[in-house]
Structures are given as C-alpha cells and as structure tokens.
Amino acid sequence: MGIRVAGVTKAFAGAAALHDIDLAVRPGELLALLGPSGSGKTTLLRIIAGLVEADRGQVFFGGLDATTLPVQKRQVGFVFQHYALFKHMSVADNIAYGLRVRTRASRPSRAEIRRRTSELLDLVQLSGYESRFPSQLSGGQRQRVALARALAVEPRVLLLDEPFGALDAKVRKDLRAWLRDIHERTGKTTVFVTHDQDEALELADRVAVLNQGRLEQVGSPDDVQDHPATPFVMTFLGQAARFPADIRDGRVLVRGKPVPVAASRSQGSPFQLYCRPWHLKPTAPGQGHQTGTISGVRRLGSMRRIEVLRADGAKLEVEVPLATSLRQGEEIGLEIVDGVLFPES
C-alpha cells in the first residue's frame, strides 16, 4: 500500500518545521527520508503515523484518507530510535502486545498469537530469546524486537525513525543488510528516516532529501548523486568544492577557461560549479583551472585523496589512483573534468 502526503505544513510555536510537503511513497518501496538534524524528518514521520497533527495537508494510505484517523486506527508499524520496548514485559510479550490489546472479536486465539510470535522471532533471528527481558538484550537485539513488535500487527506501512542511530558502526552495517532482507521478504512499504547519507544511499529504493522543512529532491540513489536538484543536495551527499563560473557562447568557463560541463543556457553569470573530488584531475603546475600545493595525502579505500591548498587558503580534495607519485609539498595544477552547475542563489 502506498503512502501519499499532500501539502503538509507544520509549525511549532510559530517556528515552521515543515513547509508544504508533497511526497508519494510507492507500494512496496523502501524510501529513505534523508536530511540533517532538525530538518523535520521526525516530524514528517510522526505526522504520517498520526502522532503529530499537521497544521495543514493530508495523509493517504493507498486510497484511504487517513488525515483524521487516530493513531490507534492507523495501523502503522513504527520503530523508534531508542526502541521504546516495554521493559516489564518479556520479548514474547512485547511482540504479542499489539495482538493481545485487540477487542475480543478481532483478537487471534492464544495458540495463534503464540504461533505468530514465534514466527516473528524467527524472522528477526531471535528464536530462543522469547522469555528474556529488554534489559537483557544488546542494542541491536532490542531494535530487532522493536521491529518484530511493529510487524506483529500486520501494519499497512512501516515507519522507522533513525532505527540504527543509537548503535555502533559495526552493528549498524549488519542491521542495514538485514533490514533490506526483511523488506524484501515482507514487501511492506517502508519509510526510513536517517541523517546518514551512506545508509540512505545503500539501503533505499528512493531517497527524499529534506532541508529546513522543505523537500529538496526525491529520486533514486543514482539520481540524487548524479543529478542533484539543488546545491544543498550536492553538498549534503558528499564532499564538493565550489567554483564561480560563467557561461559564454554556450560554454561553461571557470577563470576564463572552458570546462567540459554542459551549459544550461547560452549566456549568463554568475553561476557556481560544484565538483566532487573525482571531478578534479592533477596536471602540471600552471596548467588547468586551479593551482595549489599538496598539503596532505591520505588513503581512502582503493583510492588516494590529496588535499590541495590554494594560494587564498582554500583547500580542495582531489581523488587520485592509489599508485600516485604525488607527494606532500609539491605544487600542482588542477583540471576540472566534470561538475554540476547551479545558478548563484
């Protein structure tokens, strides 16, 4: 079942948290809601869940207008960053809670509840832990219980608010793959909030980038990385250097020299050209679009990063092959081989 958010606006005590958000999550999709801290991700997720009321706008689950539906009736699965497990209940009781609180008419039999609970424990790889209490589990295990509890009620959609935010790096990595796997198996439409670009890009079918309460771009991980819609998306998704640029006769110029970037129109200025570390190439001193001195060489996975200090004090990061002969202190030129052009705002 898809989710559609239409024209949602929310302010807290006069301070706007969300501006006129329109977002459609496709059925069965895993969508990451990505943005810096305070950008309104949690607020948007809580509005979808019915925990926060929007000032304006509507929320739909499939064809159902859920805008005025109370939390208890929305049937959304929600996973909190800090798990929010019921500490006085065992793992099994936590998972079964959503089934046990149903009215007598719609409540499954005891045997059925037990069957579903053990099925879910299996799914989250916690069989054998049913009688443990939350205090006796690790963070990663607690979050898995929280997910099983959310899935137990067969929710229309699944919403996760920074589910791995409180876990250490190694566990985060493991849980990413595991969440992807669960998503493929259950096929639930899932919205997943994170401020971690890598997490969003690795995990999601599509990424929605939020900044100061506005949606900047919604697209596939390739889309947002290769065709960022705004300078914010460009800089938030990774390191980017910025150069003033002009367009003359349909060509993009930096410091008067042409760069191989398609011009959006034939004339004009000013523009800003944003370049990733792999959009710059070292060349001989005095050549290219920039000059500077190498102030550092680091290894980054299968590549090397060199840091180039320009005469005006600015630092540029450049990606080079591992077997580079460049050394610290050397003077070099930099050629811009690619980039993304934005009009100056």
Binding site: V71, F78, H82, A84, H88, V101, A150
Partner: protein
C-alpha cells in the same frame, strides 16, 4: 569502597542505640508479665477496640492516600496548569505542619459548624468526632508520602512508550493499565508502606478530630497515653508491644509484596 568501615559502623551504631535499644527495652518490660499477661491485655475490650480502630483505619487511609497520591503525582508531573508549582509545594505541608496544628485545623474545618462540616451536616455526614474524622486526618497525613514516592517514577516514564502502545492499537485505558501502571507499582507500595506506618503512629492530628470515644473513636496511641497518665506502665508497654508486632508484620508483608512487584514489573 572508601569510607565503608565508617558508614557501616555508623549505621550499626545508629541502628543499635536509637532503634533496637528502645525497642528491646520495650519488649523486655512487656515480657515481664508473660505471654498470657500480654494476651489478657490485648483482649480487654477497650484495648482491642482501640487497636482495631488504629490499624483498620490506618490501612484504609493509607490505601486511599496511595490512590489519591498517584493521581496528584500524575497531574503534577504530566500537566502544566496555572499554580502547578504552588500545589506542588502545598503537598509537603502535612510534613511540615506540627501535627497538633493540623489536627486543630482539621477539627475546626470538619466540625458541624465548620466550613466543610456545615455542608456535610445536612447530608447526614458527620466527620469530626467520629472514626470518619480519624480517616480524614490520616489521609491528609499520608498523602505526601504517596505523592513523593511515585512522582519521580512518573517523570521517568518515556513518552514513547505510550506512543508505541497507541500505535499498536491499544486504547488509552489499556495503555494506562498495561504500560504505565506496572512500573509504578513498586513506588506505590513504598508510598503505601510509609503512609501506613505514619498513620499507625499518628497522634497529634488525630486526637483533636477523633472525639476519642472509648470503643468507637479512640486510637491505640491515645490509650497508651491514658494508661501512662494512670501510672499503668505495664499496660502502656504491653499495648505498645502489640502495636509493634502488628506493624512489623504489616511492613514485612508490604516489603515482600514490593520485592515481588520489583521482580515482576521493575526490570529496567
């Protein structure tokens, strides 16, 4: 652990000199007349009636104070209303007020011509100078214990637990019953134990409003004072010893309940 010796020594000294020694002396004095003598005093109709009055009303008052205390603590912690801080400060008043002052004030309020009493009188409700008056005074005295023991526990409840429960489809009542109350139970029991202990020993605030009618509204501590003023030291210590035994048993039971509830609901 630094200072362990000193703190342990001090604790034992305190326990020995200030708690066990007087209690030991009390029991020693009372046992002078033997078990049959103690039982003989206990079944004296006036003594038995006073003990019954003291313990039964204390029990009910502590229970009511716990319930009210839970509601008051909830309102003070969860809601922001004008005058919240003032109400919060007033809760401690029964701690601070000399008990005789509280007793006189309550008696004046609930007397048939008092502010509250004059409204209850036409309804056929007599509070002052009846067992009901004792009950009112003991609830008043017990309330701060009940409030202050659960208040921090309520403040500790994460909002997300309530939200998680609602998201799973639970009604508000179900959430209160299954999610919010269980972790509070140990605190409620502690407050109940404190309120009960205080109520059993309460003297000043009760005697002014109780009317002190033998067999009806005479509390055991008052009977001890009466025995003392009649130079019946043995009678006084025997009643005191019986009270001690009952209180000890009651507190033991409450403690066991608490240990059970901690185990059952207190996992954190």
């Amino acid at each position: 652990m630094p200072g362990f010796g000193i703190t342990l020594g001090y604790t034992l000294l305190y326990l020995g000199l200030l708690v066990l020694l007087p209690l030991g002396a009390l029991i020693a004095k009372a046992s002078g007349i033997g078990l049959s003598g103690i039982i003989a005093v206990a079944v004296e109709p006036r003594v038995a009636a006073a003990l019954w009055t003291s313990f039964s009303i204390s029990l009910v008052a502590a229970a009511v104070a716990s319930l009210f205390g839970l509601l008051v603590a909830w309102a003070l912690t969860r809601y922001d209303f004008p005058g919240r801080r003032i109400v919060d400060a007033i809760v401690d008043l029964p701690f601070a007020l000399p008990t005789a002052v509280a007793g006189i004030a309550l008696a004046a309020l609930y007397a048939p011509n008092g502010w509250v009493g004059s409204f209850l009188e036409p309804l056929g409700l007599k509070v002052a100078y009846t067992p009901l008056g004792i009950f009112v005074a003991l609830v008043f005295i017990g309330l701060p214990f009940a409030v202050r023991t659960v208040q921090p526990l309520i403040a500790d409840i994460e909002r997300e637990l309530e939200e998680a429960s609602a998201l799973l489809g639970a009604s508000r009542w179900r959430t209160v019953w299954s999610i919010l109350l269980p972790p509070l139970l140990p605190g409620v029991l502690t407050g109940f134990a404190l309120a009960f202990a205080r109520a059993v020993g309460e003297y000043g605030s009760v005697i002014f409003i109780a009317g002190n009618l033998p067999y009806v509204s005479e509390i055991a501590p008052l009977l001890i004072v009466i025995k003392l003023s009649e130079y019946d030291y043995t009678g006084a210590t025997v009643i005191a010893t019986i009270m001690l035994a009952i209180s000890f048993t009651a507190l033991l039971v409450i403690n066991l309940l608490q240990a059970w509830s901690r185990k059952r609901f207190g996992y954190v």
